[in-house]
């Protein structure tokens, strides 16, 4: 993998053993550069907003309301919102609720494997401030310390109508070009990584899962 921005140097990949280190890329991710012509960028943003491939990760309770969202009652397919089973092809990451520390590790890996521009939507109150589990020893209280969240849909549970409203809100944000979590993540990669490593004690994966 080639890297363009070498100013900060390659990633350390401290968590890997020396023989494993050769197997993984240590390149830094590069921020997304918009198209030079503004109209093109606007058009592409409009298309992006209307073709949302969702990667659903049922990390918690919130995932249970994704089922009604995709079926006859609410039918989010109408808005160009389709489930996609693999991170590589998805553009929206739906995180279904609270994340335990163990899940957070998987969330990070799944998120990094997605190809940019990508957007993160977190469901429920728990990702915002811990919700019901604010005092639990195993659930994360503030999601945006670890991955960049573009949209929170709060509630316990968020109803499908709210999810639908959230989808429309996300579309609006993408159209206006305000959903830039992907770039925030890359530009502040070291800060995010430090936060992640502080709570994930057995960090045995590459610093950026390409």
């Amino acid at each position: 993998m080639t890297t363009k921005d070498q100013s900060l140097g390659p990633l350390a990949n401290d968590g890997l053993s020396p023989e494993e280190r050769d197997l993984f890329s240590d390149a830094r991710p590069v921020p997304y550069q918009p198209y030079p012509i503004e109209v093109v960028e606007k058009f592409v943003n409009w298309v992006r907003a209307n073709s949302l491939f969702m990667l659903a990760f049922g990390t918690g309770c919130g995932a249970v309301e994704l089922n009604p969202l995709m079926t006859a009652r609410y039918d989010a397919y109408r808005f160009g919102f389709q489930p996609r089973p693999t991170p590589r092809q998805a553009s929206v990451f739906m995180i279904g609720g609270y994340a335990s520390v163990k899940t957070l590790k998987r969330i990070i890996r799944s998120y990094e494997q997605m190809q940019g521009p990508k957007f993160v939507v977190a469901l429920g109150i728990c990702p915002v401030n811990g919700g019901m589990y604010w005092d639990s020893y195993n659930t994360v209280n503030q999601f945006d310390l670890y991955i960049p969240v573009d949209l929170y849909i709060t509630g316990c549970m968020p109803r499908p109508e709210v999810l639908l409203a959230g989808v429309l809100e996300l579309k609006k944000k993408i159209k206006e070009g305000r959903a830039d979590g992907h770039n925030r993540y890359i530009e502040n990669l070291d800060w995010y990584k430090a936060n992640q490593k502080r709570i994930i004690k057995n960090w045995d994966m590459p610093d950026y899962s390409w």
Partner: protein, 389 residues
């Protein structure tokens, strides 16, 4: 037939030989936690020889919130809104069991009408949960249409919940001492309409899914639980009933008003994925029959809440108890220990998935085709949140 025999012989051979991953003969793959073919948020670590699974390890804990710890530092009434969060698709059973256990320890008797309302609530929940499960088994065998139909109909059941309790998923309806509210006007008729709709859907599913040659070819003979396996593995509920055991807590140890209702305990004989699906399908019909009786016989007035002590200073006397109920997966239980203070000493939630998803799954997966793992997993009906709480 010959093929099946040969496969069996092969799998026993493989099982006896130690699995050497370095030999290049095996592939190790992970199903989950981010995988559409897994129920909830858990992972299977599979070792494959060709298409056949030779070793399966389950990994749980992705949903661990430390509920039992959190409940130890909340007062009795503070616990009531959080218990339902333990199992997402079936919160009501948690509410009922917690309420029943606290009532037993505190010596509170809930009024008769509350018991009927609780039974109705539990049976509706069973219906909703089974509908989602039927969709799951359809989807895991590639029948997305069934999934769409059942999840839509589940939504109509959730509408009833919304009328009854004010919430779709987490109802927080069954409080210690009774229930939170009575039924709104005209609820019975709307409930009957929904039940009729679900019954029509079940007839259609009978035609589209259960009589389908492909579904039969896939599900018959998949994941057979032998009779000898049931007790050592602690298999309960529909999984045990499909193996021919007539064990149903609703009939064996009646709680609430189940002794006043007329219903049959459905059993199967084949004990494969198909039989398990069939048992659940039939149980939904029994559940609908039960709910029609409830709607008919339920007292329409009277108190729905017992006189409660001031919940802010509620001290439950020291003691311990174990209450259980038949949820959609089998015996669901709450074990409560109190020490006379305002807080619980210990609570343990016994979920049937605990054994179904770990010990049973690891046993049944060996020798199965990799394509059937998702179907097998769904056919056992497991919810990870109740394993790790």
């Amino acid at each position: 037939m010959i093929y099946a025999k040969r496969r069996k012989r092969m799998s026993t051979q493989e099982h006896n030989a130690p699995i050497d991953l370095e030999s290049g003969k095996y592939v190790k793959i992970w199903q989950g936690p981010q995988h559409p073919g897994i129920t909830g948020n858990m992972a299977l670590e599979l070792v494959l020889n060709g298409d056949e699974v030779v070793d399966c390890k389950t990994h749980v804990g992705y949903l661990h919130r430390g509920f039992e710890k959190l409940m130890e530092r909340r007062t009795f009434i503070q616990n009531f809104p959080i218990v339902c969060r333990i199992a997402v698709p079936e919160p009501t059973f948690n509410e009922y069991l917690y309420a029943a256990a606290v009532e037993e320890l505190a010596g509170i008797e809930s009024p008769q009408r509350a018991q009927w309302l609780r039974t109705l609530n539990l049976e509706l929940m069973r219906l909703a949960s089974y509908l989602m499960w039927l969709g799951g088994i359809g989807a895991s065998f590639g029948q997305a249409t069934i999934y769409q139909w059942t999840v839509t109909h589940r939504d109509y059941v959730l509408d009833l919940f919304e009328e009854m309790t004010g919430a779709r998923v987490y109802h927080m309806y069954i409080v210690p001492g009774g229930v939170r509210a009575g039924l709104p006007e005209g609820f019975e008729d709307r409930a009957r309409a929904v039940l009729d709709g679900v019954e029509r859907l079940l007839n259609e599913i009978e035609k589209v899914l259960f009589k389908n040659v492909v579904f039969k070819a896939r599900a018959k003979g998949l994941g057979i639980i032998s009779k000898e396996m049931v007790d050592p593995y602690g298999i309960v509920g529909p999984n045990a009933r499909a193996a021919g055991f007539t064990r149903d807590l609703r009939r064996d140890e009646p709680y609430l008003v189940y002794d006043q209702l007329d219903f049959d305990v459905v059993t199967g004989t084949e004990s494969d994925a198909y039989a398990r699906a069939k048992v659940r399908h039939q149980e939904m019909r029994e559940g609908i029959r039960m709910m029609r009786q409830i709607l008919e016989q339920m007292p329409t007035d009277g108190p729905f809440q017992a006189k409660m002590p001031n919940v802010l200073h509620w001290e439950v006397p020291a003691g311990e108890t174990y209450v259980k109920a038949e949820c959609t997966r089998g015996e669901y239980g709450y074990y409560l220990v109190t020490d006379g203070s305002q807080y619980l000493r210990r609570v343990h939630v016994r979920g049937p998935s605990y054994t179904h998803a770990i010990a049973v799954m690891e046993k049944l997966a060996v020798g199965t085709n990799i394509a059937d793992i998702a179907g097998l997993m769904v056919s056992l009906h497991t919810y990870p949140p109740e394993i790790e709480r």
